[in-house]
Every structure is written in C-alpha cells, then in structure tokens.
Amino acid sequence: MSKKLLLEKAHVEGIRFYDVYRREGGYNSVEKTLKTLSPEAVVEEVKKSGLRGRGGAGFPTGMKWSFIAKPEGVPRHLVCNADESEPGTFKDRYLMEFLPHLLIEGLIISSYALGSNDTYIYIRGEYAWIVDILEQAIEEAKANGWLGKNILGSGFNCNIHVQRGAGAYICGEETALIESLEGKRGNPRIKPPFPAIKGLWERPTVVNNVETLAAIVPIINMGGEEYAKIGVGRSTGTKLISACGNINKPGVYEIDMTISVEEFIYSEEYCGGIANGKKLKACIPGGSSVPILPANLLLKTAKGETRYMNYESLSDGGFATGSMMGSGGFIVLDEDQCVVKHTYTLARFYHHESCGQCSPCREGTIWLDKLLYKLEHGQGKLSDIDLLWDVQRRIEGNTICPLGDAAAWPVAAAIRHFRDEFEWHVNNPQESQIKNFGLAHYADAIQPITV
C-alpha cells in the first residue's frame, strides 16, 4: 500500500466541508507556519522536500519560489494553475472537487512564503461547478479566520480569488495563463522576463499547479526532510496519477513513486489490469504530450531493467526508448486500439489549441492534423510518413512556448515506435478502415502478470 499524503482523507464523509476537514486535522499546517516559521523558512522546507512541479515540467518548486523578485513597494502574486487540460489528466479536478480545503490550506502557506496578499486560482472554464465548490470553501475559510486580514494575529493578510477561464489549453502555460488572467487572449509571452520578475500586471508572480500547492501541506506538517525520504532519488513525495483508457479501474491514484509500471497497471490496488481480458499494446504515461511507448518498452527499459513510476525511470532512454512523467495522465491502449487514429485525435487537439502566435506551431499543427487524417482514412502515401516526421521536427524547439513541442512529441514517438502500423495503413487502405493492425510484435516477451 502506497503512502498517501494528499488523498488519505479523500473518502471521509463531508471532507469537502470546513467542519469535517478541520476536525480531521485540516489547517494545522497554517497554524504551524504562521506561529513558528518565517516566509524564508517555509521556502527552505520546500527546498529540502525536493518537491518538483506536478503540472508536467517537474521543476523544483523551492527553487522556483526563491527566484521571485522583491522590489520595494511592489505587490507580489501567487497564481494557482488549475487550468488542467492535458488530455489524460484529471487529477487536479479530483483534488479540488473532493478536497477543496486542502488546496486552500496549501495556498495560504504558499502565499505567506511568497508574500502574496491577493492570490488567484485560474481554473479551466469547463470546471464550472468546481468554481462554486472552491468559492464556498474560501468563504468557509474566511469565516473561520484562515483568510482575510491579520490571519491568526500574524499580521499577514491574504485573499484568494477564483478566476474562470473559457476553454483554451494554452492557458495552462504559465505566461499564457497570466495573459488570460489580465483579460487577454492566451498568447504566451517571450521569456525573459520570467514571471518571477514580471508576471501578472508586471508584478513578480509565481504560478504553481494545484497538486504542487496541495503538497505544501504535508511538507509543512511532516517537515521537508521527512517528505524527501518518501519516494526515490529526485522523485520525492507522492504523485497523483490519473489513469484512463482500456483499464479495469480508471481513476485518480496516489503513488509514492517506488512502484513499477507493471504493478501500477496490473495490481488490484491501482488500474486492475487491462479491461475485457485484452492485452496491453501501448501507453502514454504522462499526458498526451509525452512520447507513447509500446508495451515492451513501457514495462522494461531498453536495458531490460524494470521501469518504475517516477521521473527518472519513465524518462530512462531519453526519447529514443523512454518517455516522461509529465502531468501524470496515464493513457492505456489495448490490442484493439489503432495508434494512427489515436495520434490523429491528439494532432487534431493540438491544431485546435495552438494559439496561432508562432508560425511553426500554427502552420505545423495544421499539417500534422491533415496528414494524420489522410493516413488514418486510408488516403495516405508512404512519403506522407516521412513528411509527418519532417513537419514535427520543424516545430520542436522553434516556438515561444512548449505547446509546439507538445504537439510534435506524440507524433514523433508514434512514428518512431509504430512505423509499421503507419505503413500498414498506407499499404492496406481498405482493410485499415475495417480492422486494426493489432499487437504485432509490440508486446513480445511480455507475459501479463497478476500482482
């Protein structure tokens, strides 16, 4: 059984409401922080914890916090990135829906550490009902003295506001999010200046993911050093994984990053195996942007070692034979799924979501979408596969924000590992419309196990 730090109380009845949450030990970390720790000491604890950003990039949170500029007389802001929109990812939604006070608690401590008196939660527009849940939780926290002026007599003032987005994946990128929060189109900004120097309204700003901010609570409660003992290597603490696709038990799981991918997929505690007794074909382990892996490379690295559910192990082998932890959006494909079609839906997604600011991404995602549509619908040529490869290569690294890379990587990985499936689509245009390529050799040497 993995250690649970965030979801431990998720199933306590009424935990969404203040009274129950407080009774279960909620807000103790705020008391501890405001009564015994300086803002610098909080940053120090977070540094010691080794916590890495849970939104996808995995950047050390404590270090990010230490970059914030502190010019005299200029307000600073903390912004919570709740614009969860990476396909396969629905963990932040779960946290906010069932444990809104955990996020508020983490936000108060983090705001104190960064000196943010007005903190914003930017939530994706579609999560409309969660806005109400969060606003109610904020009201409850305020009524009980955890928000507002001079919290617990510490002299620290803090208000939290919830801002609804309106349907744009790009606003999950921190500078696009800031633009959107300023009431503009979500066009990412050129960095530098980084938000820590000039962010929201040109003020020093830190943007953190929901799960990252929630993780601050156990870090303060147990101390950074203790938190760092959980997990392995630079993958400290616990991580939420949202598992979906062809598995028996889709849902949000908290893992301590020491379990193997095989255990995660097949054990009853987590995904419960592949649905309908099918075989595993492929998996995107960290949200749609990260490289897809065929079953054999997913469960074992190219060196033949067991692959684990942590930052280092999932990226073992680089993009040639590995993938990424990403946002923890774990998408499983069984033997009946068509990788070409799946990749096409992702390319269509990125085409739809490109903000249009940089030519390589604006034009390139159209090409990816069109070429994959042709290939999937039996209208492609063999040279289209090379063209697809060429287009994705010209997007990667040539855009202001990482959406370009995010659009290129899944296409590149699909061709890298499943080229024969693409070729089969070209060579069997009619057959490919009525049946699937199947497993081929991808699952060779993989014996499904029961844990």
Partner: protein
C-alpha cells in the same frame, strides 16, 4: 440590453477582485456572465455592452471572445451537447456516441434542432478522461455515456421543457 440588478451585483463582485485600473482582468468571467444572461451566446451588441461596462475598447472584447472556445458567437439551442472526442474518449467509443446523437436528433455537428432545443458540438479534452465517453451540458458533465444515457438525457430535457410550457 442591460444586466439586471442581480447581474450587476455579480459584475461588481467580479471586478472587485482585481486592483484598481485592472478591471480588464474581469473580462473572461464577465463574458461568461453576459453569455448566460443574454440567451447563451455573445452578439456584437452584447460584446459592445461588456466593453462599455469595463471601460475598454470593443476590439479588446472581440479578440478575446473569438479566441476562447466556450464563447458562442452564434445562437445555440437551449441545451448544448459538447461531446469530447480526444484520444482517451475516442478509445472509449466517443465516435459511437457522437453518431448516435446525430442520428437521434437528426442534426450534424455544429447544428441546432429546428425546435431550438439541442445543439451538438464536438470539443477537445475536457479533463474527464477516466469517466469517458463524456460530454458537457451547461454547467455540468455527463459521464460514462451510453446510448441509453443519451436517450434519458434527451427525454429529461424535453420533459422539463413541456413542464415549463
């Protein structure tokens, strides 16, 4: 066209969240409010009204309204079915659901039924991948969709409409 008293109160609450002079920041939430208040879509008139309220130029409103996919720039039906079709939903049969709704309501994607009751849209990932296939309907999500579930949803909408008449 004007917000009523209650809507103005909500408008004021939204604007008050930002520092003085930064009222433009309230644009996205105010557009949501305007869309809900004025028939489920944003006409040029509505957008001009929002610009006036926020003391910004109309173009600043248009460029935002056209950028974000949740703002409807054309009239829509009373109930909008926004069915997710991205990878994880596709794996779980979203194509079948979309085709079923098309057949059942006899409309294509992007169209509204002649009685103005239903609009069908396809959307990209809504963050409910574990509960696929799914769609958004107004403020809420309808998840684990099946043909039977779609039938029930449509029937319920029609029943409610009959009751309100």
């Amino acid at each position: 066209m004007k917000f009523n008293e209650q809507q103005i109160a909500e408008f004021n609450r939204l604007v008050a969240r930002y520092p003085e002079g930064k009222q433009k920041s309230a644009l996205l939430p105010v557009l949501h409010l305007a869309q809900e208040s004025f028939g489920g879509w944003l006409s040029t008139e509505t957008m001009n009204y929002v610009a006036e309220l926020l003391n910004i130029t109309p173009i600043e409103v248009y460029e935002v309204a056209t950028f974000y996919s949740m703002y409807n720039l054309k009239p829509v039906g009373k109930h909008v079915f926004e069915v997710c079709q991205t990878g994880p939903c596709m794996i779980n049969g979203s194509d079948n659901i979309i085709n079923y709704i098309k057949e059942k309501l006899k409309i294509e994607i992007g169209e509204t039924t002649p009685d103005g009751m239903f609009t069908l849209k396809t959307v990209e990932c809504l963050g409910a991948c574990g509960y696929a296939p799914m769609m958004q309907m107004g403020k809420f999500y309808k998840e684990h969709l099946t043909k039977e579930k779609v039938d029930n949803i449509i029937e319920e909408c029609r029943k409610n409409a009959a009751l309100n008449n």
